[in-house]
């Protein structure tokens, strides 16, 4: 059999589990064979792991309008370098992504970049103003995969209910930034002992759980309204879950069969409010970094499936913006390029978290949230893949990021699991730099 690439002796891990080593032949955008073949390019992937390409349901790529922070070129390149083949961009840009023309334009431009693939999310309401619903059907036709007013909170429960009802007709998931604006106020970090001591405005974890509780009731209401029609298997997606209490509510709702899903970001799994002790706005993010107890709960939730997937909430800003003071610096942490090695190292290596579960949360989990079929390493499957090295260790060096946001709360952390190669539909879009453990040999 002949193909384009032959990846030899790679260990295969996908959302179904850890498999043995195989010689994976890629061609025509698909996996042609798991038992070798002929190809002009051959990679010796001994000691490395091949997984389906990662899918990020939550990234801010800032285009259009805020290209000084990030743009499609830098963001999608950063994604591919982080092992992502697919990425959902948030619509809180300037202007807001709330009409089919912008969605189509983004799709078109991203396709030309030939890095990770772009799946735009569109605004739930026009201008993300929380008043008039956006055109879910036309947006979907143009390529939108999700509706969300992320960046803002959905204060009007009635508008959210109508949005969910309407989106359900088209099988579109609605994602929410679940924080009660009144409880959150102008908090810049988790409210608790650390914020009280530091004298910084706090944002209580209850701002999140109170909003989740409300939204779950809204979902029940919407399901009642939908009763006559087919109940969807996906309806509401709760973004960037950060609290133990919020997780408990979602876990309970899932047990009761509610069509809700959720995600967690790498920062909420690896950092706590204690990071703010140094008074560095680098750690300012919304929802804020919580406590170790929350971190433990979220890892547990990620393991038992209460949390469906990892969403980076990659939120690039300029260095200057992040060096404003803690009240004025914008919320957000860039993470596309470190997310996988970070969680592989911190969860799998250090805590013994099952590798195949983590892979599932990067692949099948987000795909299911968005209504994409699972992607596994089998003959005939789409060749959107990431090859990564579980043993080579390297420090996080933000100055080498493809992202324009060249800062990181994990700067200097020694991580393993760095992606080596990323393929999108059989095309190699990203290859690690020289000397990073990629062996290439003649056939």
């Amino acid at each position: 059999m002949k193909g384009d690439f032959l990846i030899k002796k790679a260990k295969l891990v996908d959302g179904r589990g850890v498999h043995g080593t195989a010689d994976v032949l890629i061609g025509e955008g698909r996996i042609l064979s798991l038992s070798g073949g002929e190809a002009p390019s051959v990679l010796d992937a001994s000691g490395m792991i091949l997984s389906p390409g990662f899918f990020d349901p939550h990234a801010h790529l800032r285009e259009p309008g805020q290209e000084v922070k990030e743009d499609l070129q830098s963001g999608l390149t950063a994604a591919a370098r982080g092992g992502y083949t697919d990425i959902v961009s948030m619509p809180n840009t300037t202007p807001v992504v709330d009409n089919p023309e912008i969605v189509a334009a983004l799709k078109k431009k991203a396709a030309q970049i030939q890095q990770a693939r772009l799946h735009p999310a569109a605004a739930l309401t026009q201008g993300q103003e929380g008043k008039v619903l956006s055109e879910a059907h036309r947006l979907q036709e143009a390529g939108a995969v999700m509706l969300t007013d992320d960046g803002k909170t959905n204060e009007d429960a009635g508008v959210l209910a109508q949005g969910l009802l309407y989106a359900a007709s088209w099988g579109l998931v609605v994602a929410v930034h679940a924080e009660d604006a009144g409880l959150r106020r102008n908090g810049v970090m988790n409210e608790g002992a650390v914020s009280y001591r530091l004298g910084l405005p706090g944002n209580s974890g209850y701002a999140e759980s109170a909003r989740i509780a409300r939204d779950l009731e809204v979902v029940r209401y919407v399901l009642d309204r939908l009763a006559a029609k087919a109940a969807p298997d996906r309806l509401l997606h709760i973004q960037h879950l950060s609290t133990r209490r919020g997780l408990e509510l979602i876990r309970q709702a899932k047990h009761q069969g509610l069509p809700v899903t959720t995600e967690v970001g790498p920062h909420h799994l690896t950092l706590t409010e204690e990071a703010l002790n140094g008074l560095n706005p680098l750690y300012k993010v919304a929802p804020p970094l919580r406590t170790q107890s929350d971190v433990e709960a979220l890892i547990e939730g990620l393991l038992d499936g209460s949390i469906d997937c990892i969403g980076t909430d990659h939120a690039p800003h300029t260095q200057d913006e992040k060096e404003l003071d803690l009240l004025r610096a914008p919320f957000g942490i860039p993470s596309l390029e470190v997310c996988w090695p970070l969680l592989y190292t911190e969860l799998v290596e250090k805590r013994g978290f099952p590798l195949d579960v983590l892979v599932a949360r990067f692949t099948d989990g987000p795909r299911r949230v968005l209504g994409f079929p699972p992607l596994h390493l089998e003959e005939g499957a789409e060749a959107s893949l990431v090859l990564w090295n579980p043993s080579a260790q390297r420090a996080v060096e933000p100055q080498t990021f493809a992202s324009k946001a060249r800062f990181s709360p994990w700067a200097g952390w020694e991580l393993k699991g760095w992606p080596v190669c990323t393929w999108v539909e059989g095309q190699m879009v990203c290859k690690a730099m020289e000397g990073e453990g990629i062996g290439q040999s003649a056939p």
Binding site: L198, L200, G278, L279, N280, P281, D320, E323, D325, L327
Partner: protein
């Protein structure tokens, strides 16, 4: 030699996290000596000749600024002032740009006031020069706490075992936070009191209570904080009369404290709001003494960060 007992000092004063009791006491002793200079007919010494200090106030505060500037001038330092109100910060220049620009002009120490917590720490990271925090948001106002401690010790002697009540808007008060950090280091017990909506969930160094009677009971000294009137607009307080009825420190309530317990207020004062106006002028009030001592304390701080042993 007795001088060898002098502890080394952090070359900055951001808060008291990296200060210990010995350093604080040594600083207060220096302040005592600065009082001696202030008592001379010629209140000026050449100790800081050749040093240039900048007061960089991104939030207006005439009193603190004047106190610092006089302190610096009395030690013969050159003083330059940068005021946020008239500065380029409103034009989008960042704190970092502003400070780095000043740094190119050969400033030896920065006295920084901001409305946001943490800027002095950030400045310390950017500048590698002594930074003195003159108040950052709700977080810290270390020279105020030092002058409060100095004033209290002047009146009460040692603070060991003394109960100090702090009354008012604790949640938003850098003065309360710095005093809760400092006074227990000197042996005092701090009880912080205010309406529940103006108390943090916890405050290391202080016991929190909503009961004014409990806070003032047998207190050795009472510190009253300024009530910001915008707290009502933010829904944290029903009304001014309500606050006055429940939390104003008046003559009757001051009677719950020990007889002649000294009364402090960091200023500026809302007379007849947080404090019965005539009490501020009574023999128990140390308000004017606080202002006078502020200068000596700031002279001592400048002395230590600029020429003290690091």
């Amino acid at each position: 030699m007795s001088e060898s007992a002098t502890p080394s000092f952090p070359k900055h004063l951001l808060d008291f996290r990296d200060w210990n009791r010995r350093q604080v006491e040594s600083l207060l002793e220096t302040a005592q000596m600065m009082q001696e200079v202030l008592a001379r007919p010629v209140k000026k010494v050449p100790a800081l000749t050749g040093f240039t200090v900048a007061t960089v106030f991104f939030e207006p505060s005439t009193r603190t600024r004047i106190s610092f500037e006089l302190a610096a001038r009395r030690m013969s330092a050159d003083v330059v002032s940068f005021s946020g109100a008239t500065s380029s910060t409103t034009k989008g220049e960042t704190y970092r740009d502003t400070l780095r620009t000043l740094d190119q002009m050969g400033i030896d120490a920065y006295i920084l006031r901001t409305d946001a917590a943490g800027v002095p720490h950030q400045a310390h990271r950017w500048l590698h020069k002594p930074v003195i925090n003159a108040g950052d948001g709700w977080r810290a106002h270390p020279t105020q706490a030092l002058l409060d401690a100095f004033t209290l010790r002047e009146k009460l002697g040692s603070l060991e075992g003394k109960k100090i009540a702090i009354v008012g808007d604790i949640l938003h008060s850098r003065v309360a936070r710095s005093n809760a950090e400092l006074l227990p280091m000197l042996g005092a017990t701090v009880v912080a009191c205010g309406p529940a909506t103006l108390l943090p969930g916890s405050l290391p160094g202080a016991t929190l209570t909503t009961s004014l009677r409990e806070a003032l009971y047998e207190a050795d000294a009472v510190m009253v904080l300024r009530l910001q009137k915008e707290r009502m607009e933010k829904g944290l307080l029903p009304s001014l009369p309500e606050y006055i009825a429940a939390y104003q420190v008046n003559r009757e309530r001051l009677g719950w404290a020990k007889p002649q317990a000294p009364l402090l207020h960091p200023g500026p004062m809302n007379r007849d709001v947080e404090l019965e106006g005539t009490l501020a002028d009574s023999a128990q009030s140390l308000v004017e003494r606080q202002v006078a001592n502020g200068q000596a304390v700031r002279m001592a701080v400048l002395y230590h960060v600029l020429v003290g042993k690091s």
